[in-house]
């Protein structure tokens, strides 16, 4: 697949007096691995949030899987995220009251394409794939950081998304654990043809990407 999965066109975003994105235009090919790098405050996380429909640009247009998301309602954006976009966060963001398997099933709670049994089996399979077959019933507090991030990766993939957005996915992990988590993430995305866009500070991660986008002074640097 070589079509564009994400098309960002001249987007601008301002927070108060600070304009963090100043007319960014880029395209991300389907099934590719793209990293977005830049200094702190450069606007790379803002860009990721906009692609995920969780942040609105002040100007410009974003298309995801051929849909202009700036025209979608909040319910339609939620539907798009549930069906087509998985998100992995730096801080894992698991729900502390739920077990690992319940966390993984959470995005599928309103998914009518599959039965509860099917959802559970898929969650079990995903947790098995990320090496947590023996951690189904552990709550986040009983898991290490690496394990929590692996649960978060399984959760992001439960609805078989076409795009996975990762915001500093190894930022809260030690080097060895981060490398293992990254390998896992890349492996799963490549196996399933998922388009992966990761925001990172880590040059080693950037080095493994098909494409590196650097945001500097609010603009995309080629």
């Amino acid at each position: 697949m070589s079509e564009s999965a994400i098309h960002v066109e001249n987007i601008r975003k301002r927070y108060g007096a600070v304009e963090v994105l100043r007319g960014v235009t880029l395209q991300v090919k389907a099934s590719s691995f793209t990293t977005v790098i830049g200094k702190s405050g450069s606007g790379k996380s803002t860009l990721l949030g906009m692609i995920g429909g969780l942040e609105q640009p002040d100007e410009g247009r974003i298309s995801v899987l051929g849909k202009d998301i700036s025209t979608l309602s909040s319910d339609q954006l939620a539907h798009l995220r549930r069906r087509s976009i998985g998100i992995v966060f730096q801080g894992f963001n698991l729900i502390p009251s739920l077990t690992a398997i319940e966390n993984v099933q959470l995005p599928a709670a309103f998914e009518d394409r599959a039965t509860a049994t099917h959802r559970r089996r898929r969650a079990e399979a995903l947790l098995g794939k990320v090496g947590l077959a023996d951690r189904f019933h552990h709550r986040p507090a009983a898991l290490s950081g690496g394990e929590q991030q692996r649960v978060a990766i399984a959760r992001a993939l439960i609805n078989e998304p076409a795009i996975l957005l990762a915001d500093e996915p190894t930022g809260n992990l030690d080097e060895a654990t981060g490398a293992a988590v990254l390998d896992l993430l890349l492996g799963l995305c490549r196996d399933t043809g998922v388009t992966l866009v990761a925001v990172t500070h880590d040059p080693d991660i950037a080095a493994t990407a098909d494409r590196v986008i650097e945001i500097k002074d609010g603009r995309y640097q080629v």
């Binding site: 995920g52 549930r82 963001n93 009251s97």
Partner: protein, 415 residues
């Protein structure tokens, strides 16, 4: 994983906050229901004597003090009722029946006794005969008396003995338990109307004030259509004149107005105050809980939950807490009502319904009446408190969510 499991997990995970919210609602429901039940019981206790004064309406006329307080006298204040007024009352719409009576005090240096002569009828001799403890019923044509059981006990009298009233020796036909009889004005000695009329007609201190004839009366016991009670009372006052003493549920209520006001209104006011504090507490607790969970709500949105799904989740959690608190509050209220047992209220009967001369030292004691009632949990109060509790929980969640809608990415982004 379904929604209900998530609700259960969340409530258990935040057990302290869940418990505090449910307890807040439980306390409010308990207080509101219990206060309403106690106020209602007090009101019922105050109203109880109205149902046992002897008739729906008792009519008397204010009279003068006799020249000498000796022998048979009309109780003060009491006067001869004009025959024209009595005939007029009988014809009034809403008046079901009229029983004529002669009410007398017999005063001697060392004792007194109250004497009531009654016609036959439900509010007269028939009602009295229904409370017979010993002896035989008293008929309209008898030359005999019935004695109140307390009076008979105090004076060592029983059926078959004699009693002297106004110098006339009368055989005691029977003893009645008039205190709990309910439908007659209470006296020590009960006579057929004709006997009491003859005694009054022959009594010097009665005749000194009134030309009491052998067919006159100084008291009427009126049975009325309760739906037309107010109109009947008003019309009787017009017929008898300015000096009429018309005792009824209405006059009794007026006499006890302040006590009834306190019991009815204060119960309501206190319930409302407690409810307002509880709602404020639940609002604050829910707002804090929602604030703590802003990041979690943002995560749910990032995972594809619609805002209304998040909304429903929080609403469901709070409603479950409210329902738990409400049921606990209702159960506690029922238990507390049972534990409290009966409520005893002692009150003074109005002078015009007292069988005891007010200048007798025991009069104040005799006029006191104690009524015992159990706290009653009215279904309307239970329903209102139940719905109020659940509503408080739900409205707290909605209020908290309306002011706390998170901007998801601002809470989740790495930089």
């Amino acid at each position: 994983m379904d929604r209900w499991r998530y609700v259960a997990r969340e409530l258990r995970h935040r057990s302290g906050r869940s418990l505090a919210t449910a307890a807040g609602i439980a306390v409010a429901v308990l207080a509101a229901v219990l206060l309403a039940a106690l106020a209602n019981s007090y009101s019922r206790a105050l109203e109880a004597p109205m149902k046992t004064v002897g008739a729906d309406v008792i009519v008397q006329l204010t009279g003068d003090i006799p020249p000498k307080l000796e022998g048979l006298v009309f109780p003060h204040p009491n006067a001869l009722l004009p025959a024209k007024a009595v005939a007029g009352i009988r014809k009034e719409p809403g008046v079901v029946s009229v029983t004529r009576a002669v009410y007398l005090w017999e005063l001697a240096p060392d004792h007194y006794q109250s004497v009531l002569g009654l016609e036959a009828g439900e509010t007269g001799l028939d009602g009295l005969n229904g409370r017979l403890l010993q002896g035989r019923p008293l008929r309209a044509g008898d030359h005999a008396a019935l004695l109140d059981s307390d009076f008979a006990g105090k004076n060592g009298l029983k059926a078959g003995d004699d009693i002297v009233v106004g110098g006339d020796r009368l055989p005691v036909a029977g003893i009645v338990d008039a205190a709990r009889g309910g439908k007659v004005v209470r006296a020590d000695v009960y006579l057929p109307l004709a006997v009491s009329q003859a005694l009054a007609a022959a009594a010097p201190q009665v005749q000194a004030l009134y030309a009491f004839g052998a067919d006159d009366a100084n008291m009427l016991l009126v049975k009325a259509d309760r739906r037309r009670m107010e109109a009947v009372v008003e019309r009787i006052k017009q017929l008898v004149g300015k000096k009429a003493i018309v005792s009824s549920e209405i006059s009794f209520r007026e006499t006890l107005e302040s006590a009834l006001f306190l019991s009815e209104r204060m119960g309501l006011v206190l319930s409302l105050v407690v409810a307002v504090f509880a709602v404020a507490f639940v609002l604050r607790a829910t707002a804090s809980a929602v604030n703590e969970r802003r990041r979690e709500m943002a995560v749910l949105q990032a995972l594809g939950w619609r805002w209304r799904d998040v909304h429903r989740q929080v609403l469901l959690e709070n409603t479950v807490l409210a329902l738990t608190g409400t049921l606990a509050g209702l159960a506690l209220a029922a238990f507390a009502a049972w534990a409290i047992g009966n409520i005893e209220v002692t009150m003074e009967m109005p002078w015009d319904l007292s069988s005891t001369p007010h200048f007798i030292p025991e009069a104040a004691v005799d006029r006191r009446q104690s009524v015992t009632v159990p706290p009653q949990l009215a279904w309307q109060v239970l329903a209102a408190a139940g719905l109020g509790g659940i509503f408080a929980g739900a409205i707290s969640a909605l209020a908290a969510l309306s002011t706390r809608r998170p901007q998801p990415w601002s809470l989740l982004r790495s930089e």
